[in-house]
Structure formats: C-alpha cells, structure tokens
Symmetry: C2
Subunit: 417 residues, 2 copies
C-alpha cells in the first residue's frame, strides 16, 4: 500500500466526521470537529509528534529538533464548507504527517523542529470571520471577532471556550518570527490548471489579491412595446455590454480573473425595460497593480457605456485584500523537491485564500497544490488521486530533506555550528 | 370650457372609482367597476345614446341610425392595471361620447348607427385571460376561459354572473360582420413617439405582433478565483453577449422592438462562475415576417455564442400573437380628420395590445393615439393634456363626419338608395 493509498483511506475515514447530508460538513468547534481531532491526533502520533490543542483550537503536533533550531510550520485546516469534499484543508494536515512518517522510516533526522498545524476554521462558514488560528500565531488577530456570533447566537468566544478547557488566551499564542523557518501548506488546487497540464503537483507563486465592487447602471424603464429602440435607456443592455467586456478584458490581461457571479434588474418583468441593473464584480490577481489597472479600465468602460446610452453608472469597491507572494527561496526548494520526485514543475497562482495568507504575516510561506479532478471543489465529488497524493508526500519529504541539507535552519541568534 | 377640459374633469371624477392605493386600481366585475359604469352611463346618455350592459359586462351605448344602415363600433376598456393611470382605456370610452355630443350640437346627423363600447377587461390583471368583451362580439371567445379563477378562487363565470343579472349567454353576442362598418379605438399612446414629434395625435398603422421566448445558456460553474479565464464556460457572459446583440440587432431593423426585461443566474454568488443564465426575450413588430426573421437571427447568434464558449443554448417560444393591420380606408379617413382638424399626421405602430386586436376578427379597425406625457403609462402619473384630448374629440368627430359623407355606410345586402 502506497502512502497515497493510505492517505486515501484515512481521508475516507475522517470524512465520516461530518454533519448529516451529502459530502462533508464539518464546521469548527462542533462534535464533528472533536471527532476529527481524534483521527488527526492518531496521524500525528504515528508520525512521532507530540500533540496539544492551542487556545485557538488549533491541533498542534510538534517534532522537537536540536536545541536552538528553528521551527518549520506545516499545516492547513480541518473544517469544510457545508456539503463539501474530503480533501479541501484536511489533506494538507494528513500528507505532511505521512511525509514525516516516510522520513522517519528512511532514517532521516531533521536539524530543525517541525510543527504540523490543524487549524479550526478557514472557511468562515459558521462565524462571519475566519483564520483565527493562523492570525493568533501571527499576532494579527482582532479581539473583537470573539464577540461575533453564529446563526444560533453562540459567540466565537463561547464556542472556543466550550470546545477547549479554558477561556481562550489567544494573546499568548503569537510566535516570534525569528524562531520560525517558514510555513508550508499543501492544498487541493480547486481549479483545473494542473489537470490541463497533466501534472500531479503545482508550486504556488502567491495568493491572489481580491477586490469586490458593487456596480450599478440606472436607466429608465418603459413599456417593452411602446418605447422605440432608439429612445431606450436599458440598464440591462448597458450591464451586458460591461459584463462581456469584463470577461474579454480579463482574458486579455492573462493575470486577472474577473467574475460577475450574480445580477439583478428592476422592475424585472418580461415586458418592462430594465430601469436598474446591479451586479457584483470580483477581481483577483497575483499582481495588485494589474488588479487595480483592470478595475480602473472597467470603471472607465462602464462610464463610457453609460454615457453612450444616457444612463447613470456607479461602481463602488466594497472589499479589498492585497495579494500575498510566496517566498522565493522556500518555493525554489519546493520546486526542486517536486522535480527531484520526478514530476514536471508547474507554477501557478492561488485564486483562493488559504491559511497561508494569514501565516504570511508571521513568516515566509510556500504552497504545494495537488491536482483536482475536473477542477471541482467545495462539492461532495471533490477528488484527488492516491497517486497524486503519493507524489505530494514525496515532494513534502523532499522539501524537508532539502531544507535540512541547506544548513540555514538554525535560529539567527545562535552562532552557526 | 373646451370639450378637452370637460374630458379632463370627467376622467378625474371617474378616477375615484378605484380600490385604495396610489393611482387608479379598477379591476373588472368589482364594486369599482360598477361605480364607474354609473359615470359612463351618464356620458353615454348625455351623448344621446341608449344604454345597456351585454352578457360580457360590456356597457353598450347605441345611437340608432336609419333603417338598414350599418353600425360603427367605437370603444375601449374601463379597467386599469393596479395603481395605473386615469387615461389608459377609459379615455377611449369618454372622448367618442364627447365627439357625438359635439356633432349633435353642430346639428350633424349620421347615416349609420354608432355604438360606444366600454369593455370590462382588457388588462387581464384579475383573471389569467382578457378581451372577453370584444371576443364575444367577434364570436372568437373560448368558453373554457369562463372556468378560470382569480386569486381568490372566483371563476370568471361567477364574477360575470354576480356582476350582471343572469348567467352570461355569451354566444348570443356575436355580431354579423356584414352589419358592422368598423371599429375605432382611441387610446393614450403609452410611449414617447408623439411627444418626440411634438404632435397631439397619431394614426396607428397596426398592432404589433408579440412573441416571447425563454432563453437559457448552460455552462459550468467554478470558483471565481481558481478557474482561469480561458477555461471558463460562464453562462452570464454568454447571456450578456446575446442581450447586447438583441438591442443592437433590433435597433438596426427599425421595425422590431426587442426587450430582455428580467434575468436570473445560478448559483448566483459573488464568487461563483454562473452555470446557468435564464432570461425571457420579448419581440414585437408590426411585421410578423420581420419579427420572425429577427428571432431567427437571435437564435443563430445565441447558438454561435454558445458554441464559441462551450456552452449549451436553448431558446423556446412560449407565446406568439400575430400582428394586426389597421384598415387602410378607415385609417386614411382618420388621417384626413386629424389633418383637417389642424394637426400634423404622425403614423406609428402600436407596440401594446388593445381591444382593437380582438375586434379585428370581426371588422376593419382603426386607432387614434393621444400624446402621453413623458411616454409614461400604467402609473399614477400617466397624463394626457386637455388640449390633446380636445384635438382627439375634433378628430373623432371629423372622422364620423367624413364617414357620413363617404356614402359607403349602408349594409351591403341592402340596395343603395
């Protein structure tokens, strides 16, 4: 049985830690979460780690290195979206455990400490916030989020307290950046790029910045039969011209992904010319400059379309999150490990946010993507092959071995041996 | 006080026959309808007409002509949409009454009979059917519509029976086409064309045919961050391309009015690529051939757009109603009357359906449009000027006088005198 096959079996087992319904539904600080931690604890102890749960309900498995060595953090999240898949998040906790098992059985010892982290809440489904675990480690969490409540009125503070043993003392969790080598996250791609390139693994160049805008055209309604075409100020026609241009312009940039995922018109009747059309425009890019340039272009274009047809146009940014670059040195080490394991090197940006986004405030980050069947994620039929997971275990083990060989793993405030 | 000013006063009075709320809400076979009939009865008797209500709840005012003469039908509907205006429909009952008063005071007698008709239900708001009154006259009504119920479960049969005195004997209402000179309807334009041309009146060339289609693009959803632009099958982008083309293509034809008044996408989330986009496409034209050509063009274009982006495309016709041409002779007589009254001749199609559509199955039809402020109709602020209504009364009276002078108003089966 390969380590990839073992991974498949273990992910199938832990998938049963789920609320009822199709696929996996495992929200943070729930009985399902607690059951899942039993599985993860077994994985960690089998890899020789010493396990504890921290005050943010992150399960931490530590492999102690030599005195004075830095710590490499590796991990991902245990939680899923409702009716999600078996891989998103949890696979990034399991595969590094298997990589440590493999190194151990190969007789390798590491000149640094390793911690595998199973964060509680990355999806942000239960509470209107997420990433408390990595933010606590980075010292960037905002205390006020503890007062946010789920839809049953349970605050995040109450949920964590009931889940752990004590009131959460999150401010004690912040790590000293000088002690940390970096953070590695393995994740299912959630997109089709690796499948398109027929490659099991990808090295992530960075995590895209995201902005959201509310776009609105205001025209004039009227009877579909009585207003001549030339007299119309049709908000949906104007919106349609802009939405088509959003797709064409983004395609031309090669670095921007832009999506209009929803739209609403008023009065919304078969025989009434639309007076208003409202839609959200989401723009993501690994380059903040390219993203801003794109949004500026669309704003100019929207205003032009509105002017041409006598409509009003508004575009308001409602959310922005800058891009996070992966660390060049760590990513090169990871890329070398992927190639050394016998796989082609594919580099790609991550369009989705990950725990690594928050960890980048603490330390250099690197991310390994595993091929995703048909690019489908957040669904019960989300799938990664055992062979691809085996490749990932090889690459993670190779990455650890390369890092061990690089000699730069001791704490800077210790003199080199 | 001009007849136009009298019209304005009377329309203001009958506007109080309304359910509560803004504007006029007068549905058929209601207490408001009954109250309105009292006003209309007064208008008709003041014009020298003998009044009765027929089995379809049409109020009929008859001016008897010489023995053996044909009958000219004139009318429109008493009902309104919910929160509608004071002019739509009811103005076309009042103005011909005033025209007959005017002819009477001018000492004119007509060599034919005239009936002014106040149809009960043209808007089709209360029941999922409409035009029972004119269809009964034309002998084209479908008995099964009597079983259709309003939202309170009251059938049309029960509503008419309760409103009248006997169970409705609609089959006795059909007229003999040989007895009918034609049908004239006066109506507020409900569009901006006359206002644009600075003209009070317009002669209608015909009533546009209408078709409705359900259009659907089916693509593939995916995460807005993880699917590269080139791999997308975005149903909203495809729909947007087609909707923009619908507007551009219709504008180029000059004879077609095409509207997409509503749209819905799934999954309809800010960060999910739309998998499906559904929208209704309504097409109207005075030329059935132009309408069908247009729809064929859009169908080809939609299929092409879908093919280009790997989507599926469906377009299904859900409703069709052919165009109705106005009678050339009657319309020329009407046009002469408009010009003789001192107004420019504007001819235009009607984009909306009217009682005249159903009456065209019985006899030649003609329609006179009255200028509509800002083109706004079916709203409380719908407005026609007293001066424009006065112009319409002049034109209707002139039309009747011209018809009287033309000598072709006797029944064909009577030998000419």
């Amino acid at each position: 049985m390969t380590l990839g096959e073992i991974a498949q079996t273990r992910l199938s087992e832990i998938a049963s830690c789920s609320a009822t319904g199709a696929g996996v539904t495992r929200l943070p600080f729930t009985p399902e979460h607690r059951l899942a931690l039993n599985h993860i604890r077994h994985w960690m102890t089998a890899a020789g780690l010493e396990v504890h749960m921290d005050a943010a309900a992150t399960l931490v498995g530590r492999l102690e290195g030599p005195v004075g060595s830095k710590t490499l953090l590796i991990g991902s999240h245990q939680d899923s979206v409702p009716n999600g898949g078996r891989y998103d998040g949890i696979m990034g906790v399991l595969l590094p455990c298997l990589a440590l098992e493999k190194l151990h059985s190969d007789g390798e010892t590491l000149p640094f400490s390793v911690e595998i982290l199973a964060f509680a809440d990355e999806e942000g489904v239960r509470f209107p916030t997420a990433l408390l675990g990595p933010r606590a480690l980075a010292g960037t969490y905002d205390n006020s989020v503890l007062d946010l409540a789920d839809q049953d009125g349970v605050t995040l503070r109450a949920a964590i307290t009931e889940f752990g043993e004590d009131p959460p003392q999150l401010d004690r969790l912040a790590r000293n950046p000088a002690d940390i080598l970096g953070y590695l996250e393995t994740h299912i791609e959630q997109g089709p790029v690796l499948e398109t390139h027929d490659a099991p693994l990808g090295v992530v160049t960075g995590i895209c910045g995201i902005e959201r805008n509310n776009v609105r055209f205001v025209g004039r309604t009227g009877h579909a039969g009585t207003v001549p075409m030339a007299d119309r100020r049709d908000a949906l026609v104007a919106a349609s011209r802009l939405i088509a241009s959003v797709a064409d312009t983004a395609k031309a940039t090669n670095t921007v992904r832009a999506t209009v995922g929803a739209i609403s018109v008023q009065p919304n009747a078969v025989n009434a010319i639309p007076e208003t059309a409202d839609f959200p425009l989401e723009v993501r890019s690994i380059s903040d400059e390219a993203r801003q340039d794109f949004t500026d272009q669309i704003r100019v274009l929207g205003a032009q379309i509105a002017r041409d047809s006598g409509l009003a146009f508004e575009m308001e940014q409602t959310y922005v999150q800058p891009a996070v670059a992966c660390d060049i040195d760590l990513s090169e080490t990871l890329a070398g490990a992927v190639q050394h394991a016998g796989f082609p090197l594919i580099t790609l940006p991550s369009g989705a946010t990950h725990d690594a986004s928050a960890m980048s405030d603490l330390c250099p980050i690197a991310m390994l993507f595993v091929r995703c069947k048909h690019g489908l994620s957040h669904r019960p039929d989300e799938h990664a092959n055992a062979a691809d997971m085996n490749a990932a275990v090889d690459a993670i083990a190779g990455f650890l071995a390369s890092l061990a060989a690089s000699g730069s793993t001791r704490n800077h405030h210790e003199p080199p041996l």
